[in-house]
Assembly symmetry: none
Homo-oligomer: 212 residues x 4
Amino acid sequence: MPNTASKKKTQVSGGPERRRELLDTAAEVFAAQGYNATTVRKIADAAGMLAGSLYYHFDSKESMLDEILSTFLNELWEGYDAVLGAGLGPRETIEALVTESFREIDRHRAAVAIYQKESQHLVDQPRFGYLVESQRRFEEAWLGTLERGVADGVFRADLDVRLTYRFVRDTVWVAASWYRPGGQHSPEEIARQYLSMVLDGIAVRGPGAGGS
Amino acid sequence: MPNTASKKKTQVSGGPERRRELLDTAAEVFAAQGYNATTVRKIADAAGMLAGSLYYHFDSKESMLDEILSTFLNELWEGYDAVLGAGLGPRETIEALVTESFREIDRHRAAVAIYQKESQHLVDQPRFGYLVESQRRFEEAWLGTLERGVADGVFRADLDVRLTYRFVRDTVWVAASWYRPGGQHSPEEIARQYLSMVLDGIAVRGPGAGGS
Amino acid sequence: MPNTASKKKTQVSGGPERRRELLDTAAEVFAAQGYNATTVRKIADAAGMLAGSLYYHFDSKESMLDEILSTFLNELWEGYDAVLGAGLGPRETIEALVTESFREIDRHRAAVAIYQKESQHLVDQPRFGYLVESQRRFEEAWLGTLERGVADGVFRADLDVRLTYRFVRDTVWVAASWYRPGGQHSPEEIARQYLSMVLDGIAVRGPGAGGS
Amino acid sequence: MPNTASKKKTQVSGGPERRRELLDTAAEVFAAQGYNATTVRKIADAAGMLAGSLYYHFDSKESMLDEILSTFLNELWEGYDAVLGAGLGPRETIEALVTESFREIDRHRAAVAIYQKESQHLVDQPRFGYLVESQRRFEEAWLGTLERGVADGVFRADLDVRLTYRFVRDTVWVAASWYRPGGQHSPEEIARQYLSMVLDGIAVRGPGAGGS
DNA sequence: CATGAATGAGAATTCATTCAT
DNA sequence: GATGAATGAATTCTCATTCAT
């Protein structure tokens, strides 16, 4: 949660609409150029105003990043929590998590891309402590589900489960780097194909024996 | 292994040794903090010298990045070309490319991480035109092999082949973000497990029932 | 008159006024210390602001130089073109060009001094290509007029005309190195004396024969 | 006179030949690019050595400049003093000074060009105090001779004599900016033509009518 | 709400100079 | 005498941020 209770301004008037608009613009630029390489002037240009004017709406460039990421993560966890609390089996949970993830990518493509690129070096800053917490819950959710699946015999036991965790996790999220909302595939369709690959592999199975 | 041992100087040697040492140091910092967030002072600190001194060896911060990336890509393509010229079947080619990729990650972890994070916005600059060329050859190699495999009936025909291409490509390379050389798994072992997941999936196959 | 009175701000005005003010200040410092020896900090000091603030108004130190020189040359050529298009005889043209030149020195003393000192090594840079063009037109105007005068019998035929050209040209422009606007001589008066020297020489003519 | 008695090195071996050679090289580069814009590396390049190596021969970049200028001025004053002590009339003295000046330009073109461009802002530095002294003697020599000539009735009395002084002085010395030794005119020939222009003017004199 | 102008803390880079070899 | 590697101070330029209007 980004610094709640800011001293002054912030959310005066013009409503949350304008704020959201500006954040979307900022997110787009951050995603395209990287946070550090993005100047507030570029954001302002993209928003059709001057750099100084942004400071009426936001405390700092960092607080924009903060708000972008925390908004995204809040929504993500709303979705994830719904899935995790639904009492599904391991395989169904994985399927639901992947599908939910692609929906989030569809909705927050820029934020996801920013998260991918920047979270690594943001975790050190106290302000972004919630990223660490999120990563912990992430691992808990995915790794736990995989372990449950191995125990239940629905996921292979011959694989290093941490490696599998990273494999599945990365497989989903890097898609944000090329995904464009409104493209030919819906998030659900992409999720279906990804799941098919991850669960069953890309190799054609011989009639008798599989594996390598 | 970049910059192993000795945090500071061992500048006994003169010529290209020192250069390589410094580049390894720089790559490490770039990978850890991102290119833009890395100041030359940080690199110099890590190398045990003053910021200005780096300019005796390199023209600019950008030229360090350039040399890091081009050196990596040159070595990568040496390996890839050997694989592609070996006359292997599609499945064996994929296996060899993946294995070779993990070996490169093992050898150039920092460079790979940098490539992942920065190449997207470097491609616009003429100086880094070779990145575009490399990406083209990449697609040619991976996508071509996958298509050949589909035609040969060794890879599934029911998947969008471009999606599969991105899936395999990204899945392998993002591993650089968490891989640590000298860890418990050798590159070959990681490659083996990855290939097993990619080719056969992580789901246990029921004796009769397949997919979802 | 550049930067008259008020050492510091009078930044009541907004737009192009301020720009012109700053350029006048910069020109003064460039002329006094040389372009290379002038730091932007010195300019900023003279303008009563911080070095970085100059970059709100100008792209670079070089672009200030550029604007100073091109503004001067534009005005110069306006004056010269008027003279050259007036259909005067060679002697009257030379007289008018010299007079016009001293007026320009009076108005743009700093710019002229900069031009004298710096143009030689600026001509190599593409950005200052207009200097070459200007020099060409310069030669065309002065040399052409002298040649016409020799042909018409109003200028001596026994002198190397290129040497004469350089003599007249230099004679006029070096004055910028010592001329101070507001001094005891008006530009027109200086022009008159210069012309008298250049046209008739400084030697008293013997009653019968002149020359050496 | 440049800082006599330098602490160490300076003039060890290799003789004054090498030293002179290096100074000539440096002078050439200073003249072409300006003192400030000339890096010691450029000088070293032109001399076929590395920048650091110059410090075996000279204390500093400034001391090179110092030695170049003082050597030139010493030689100049040797020549001037010979002229001034010869007991010539005003007109003959001017003629001899101009001729001597063109000879010096021929011999020390680079030094003269440097002197022209840099002396203005060097005079402030104590180290270059001899420039001020030289300028004083200069004025004494030229202005004195002109005044003597006016008194004697050989130079025109209707001209501002200080203006005439600057006119003659500058006109001669700026020639260094375009003069190339070994060109088609010898220094003596150029001197002859210059004197002819300065003394008698460039205008053809009507049989009866004089000036304008 | 937005602008225009400025601030001030770095950033990359340059370069004269030093010095051990 | 010369080299190679470094130093450290200065320089140009960038940019997040402030604030009076």
